[in-house]
């Protein structure tokens, strides 16, 4: 039973344009939502997070939007740069859960120069 789904395995975007990565979840008990970025042969690195009590969080070129009624999370990257090419994972946390995070299957973003 997948609690977190990233339905697009890949996305290609032109440099300078907006990249939008999407994530759907099933459980209303999640209290934090996170995005991680992963380059090949490296571990994932934390990118940005949002609390369930907010609907938007911004950090430079990265903005995360949370639509609780639709149980939908999205990451916007503006403007996209070739160095943003990586696999992006969304992750969710249930408050008080010892296992911490559950990850989606990832989306490979390719930013074309």
């Amino acid at each position: 039973d997948q609690q977190v789904k990233q339905n697009s395995p890949s996305l290609s975007v032109q440099e300078g344009r907006i990249s939008i990565l999407n994530c759907d979840y099933t459980n209303s008990m999640f209290d934090y939502f996170l995005w991680y970025k992963k380059y090949p042969a490296e571990g994932p690195t934390f990118l940005i997070s949002i609390s369930s009590i907010k609907d938007k969080n911004e950090d430079g070129r990265f903005t995360v939007f949370l639509n609780k009624s639709a149980k939908h999370l999205s990451l916007h990257i503006v403007p996209s740069q070739p160095g943003d090419s990586a696999v992006y994972f969304c992750a969710v946390r249930i408050s008080g859960s010892a296992r911490q995070l559950t990850f989606g299957s990832g989306t490979q973003l390719t930013v074309l120069p």
Binding site: Y32, L34, A41, G43, S51, A98, R99, Q100, G104
Partner: protein
């Protein structure tokens, strides 16, 4: 900065061999985790530990065991490696509570079982 160090970046083993993957973190985190990453399947939790000598099964524990004798060290053991355990293995650590639940990952260990 948090540092999570995995002992081997690349390993090649034969079917049936015993494999040890070591992970050390230097931030006094209570929680430690082992994930494997496979294309199209994301990050799947194998085992985690919230204290020394404590361990909990994750989503895919079959064929694996773990050991946590010291707070900073968490080892993943493949008792008898099989070809379907060829994967990227990722160790992570985090604080016990508070914050966003952010995990800090090591650089990964790419295991190939022939």
């Amino acid at each position: 900065d948090v540092k999570v160090t995995q002992s081997s970046r690349y390993l090649v083993k034969r079917t049936g061999e015993k494999v040890f993957l070591e992970c050390v973190q230097d931030m006094d985190h209570e929680n430690m985790f082992w994930y494997r990453q496979d294309p199209g399947l994301g990050l799947r939790l194998i085992y985690f530990s919230y204290d020394v000598k404590m361990k909990e099964k994750g989503d895919i524990p079959e064929g694996y065991s773990v050991s946590r004798e010291k707070k900073e060290r968490f080892s993943l053991i493949l008792e008898s490696a099989s070809t379907n355990q060829t994967s990227m293995y990722l160790c992570a650590s985090s604080l016990a509570s508070g914050g966003t639940g952010e995990l800090f990952f090591g650089e990964g260990s790419r295991l190939t079982v022939l």
